[in-house]
């Protein structure tokens, strides 16, 4: 984080600084990201793990749902109208 923040004083528009920290020891994981998976029967399947776009609050746990303040002064709702 410190290394990243230190770049803010030297980078300009459009510059990209690559931090020297790989996500994993091997880059093999990059081969399957957003790529079709071949099933045993030879057909291709897309690994789409996104969940349904539900229009009600989606809590991490039931306890969170129970503790939620319906007035919630730190929740800011913006009208799109």
């Amino acid at each position: 984080m410190q290394t990243a923040l230190e770049q803010t004083s030297s980078l300009g528009p459009g510059d990209i600084f690559r931090l020297p920290f790989p996500f994993a020891d091997s880059d093999e994981w990059k081969n399957t990201v957003m790529r079709p998976i071949q099933k045993p029967d030879g057909t291709l399947e897309m690994n789409d793990f996104r969940t349904a776009r539900l229009d009600s609050p989606q809590y991490q746990s039931d306890a969170d749902q129970g503790a939620a303040d319906p007035k919630c002064p730190s929740c800011v709702f913006i009208s799109a109208d």
């Binding site: 984080m1 803010t8 789409d48 969940t51 776009r53 989606q58 303040d69 319906p70 799109a80």
Partner: protein
């Protein structure tokens, strides 16, 4: 260690994924004008830094995000214990973030940097929303101005935007 690969071309893979799923081609947002640029005028150790994150972070006691183009945002008091923070998002695997919220909301990391004097302070208020909002226009015209006004009120020197 294996030979490193180039960064993933997510634009190309998004096009391929949408095609494989039978969706209409994704319409990318394009802006012809260059973004405004403001050079920093002070060193890090004099900066009050704001944290903004789009990973659907909310605090225990707050209302969670819904997943249908939720334009709302949450104000997180950065004095909060990070164990009280949660995630709600439709489009990424939240398992690591739920084990350690700093993966998508580096609040403890920034507090440590402030404690060490690397930065002057972490702004008292952080802002979170749930990315993946289809309408870029609504983000630009509705959500972003709210966040900008809040950051100006907080008198921050730098805003750190953390995606998920």
């Amino acid at each position: 260690m294996d030979q490193r690969q180039d960064p993933i071309d997510y634009i190309e893979r998004t096009r391929s994924q949408y095609d494989a799923l039978g969706y209409e081609p994704y319409t990318w947002v394009e802006y012809s004008a260059a973004p405004p640029w403001t050079a920093l005028s002070k060193p890090l150790n004099e900066m009050n830094i704001a944290l903004i994150a789009s990973g659907g972070i909310y605090a225990h006691g707050q209302i969670a995000f819904h997943h249908k183009d939720d334009l709302s945002y949450r104000i997180i008091d950065t004095e909060i214990e990070s164990t009280q923070l949660r995630t709600s998002h439709f489009a990424y695997d939240m398992t690591p973030a739920r084990e350690n919220i700093n993966v998508v909301f580096p609040i403890d990391t920034l507090k440590t940097l402030a404690h060490q004097g690397i930065i002057r302070s972490l702004s008292r208020r952080a802002y979170t929303f749930m990315g993946g909002i289809y309408s870029a226009r609504k983000v630009r015209d509705l959500l972003a101005p709210h966040l900008l006004k809040a950051l100006q009120e907080d008198e921050v020197d730098l805003a750190l935007l953390v995606p998920a």
